[in-house]
Amino acid sequence: MRDIRLLDQMLVPGTLIGPFAQANPGLGGVCTFVGEVRCDAKEQGGVEALELSHYEPLTLPGMHALADRAFARFTLMGLLMVHRVGVLYPGEPIVCVSAAALHRRDAIDAVDFCMDHLKSAAWFWKREKRADGWHWIEPRADDTRDLARW
């Protein structure tokens, strides 16, 4: 079961995860990661909102290509990858990746792999609204370090 989506409305993990597990009968384990919009420490200027823009012809195909790689690399029964676009507020889920497999290691590693690669595989541009206005988020050194793990 493969469910790859961009979502422009509230992402409610509970409505995705239960049906996903149900759709993969016989699974041994499901690993799920849900990322939320953080409200950074006050000293850094709290994040009031986050906006994600995407480029339709690249972003969704990028997620599908990443799903292909995950299915090729791990022994999976199902993969769910749902990413928000649009304006989000702190505490709102921004991404949900869930992998179902016969064996635990495949499920956990597939989620880890997808999360590490999602930012480079799918094109998203993010800006944060702080007290002094909107700021574009630049690429980070951490992302390159995470990719070097695979």
């Binding site: 990322g35 480029y55 690249l58 930012k119 541009w125 574009w136 630049e138 951490d142 992302d143």
Partner: protein, 85 residues
């Protein structure tokens, strides 16, 4: 269609003040990367020329901006590096 659509992503959209621009399609030879830069407002052209930016033509990423050959009806996307998170 007699125009080329330029889709601007991330901070390039901010700079342009709009998510898309249209350029008149050249009547003779197709527009190359230098031609696109020349047709953009100067401040936007400067930002677009950042070597970290990528270019897509009709939804396909170009390996090299030198490959660009755009004509009437084509959509060019200018893609700054994606954000960390």
């Amino acid at each position: 269609m007699i125009v080329i659509t330029v889709v601007l992503l991330g901070k390039l959209a901010d700079l342009a003040g709009a998510p898309t621009l249209t350029l008149p399609a050249p009547s003779s030879a197709p527009l190359d990367w230098a031609g696109v830069l020349a047709a953009l407002p100067p401040a936007l052209a400067d930002a677009a020329d950042d070597p970290r930016n990528r270019v897509a033509a009709n939804g396909a990423l170009l390996a090299d901006k030198a490959e660009l050959q755009a004509g009437a009806g084509d959509e060019i996307a200018l893609l700054p590096p994606v954000s960390g998170g």
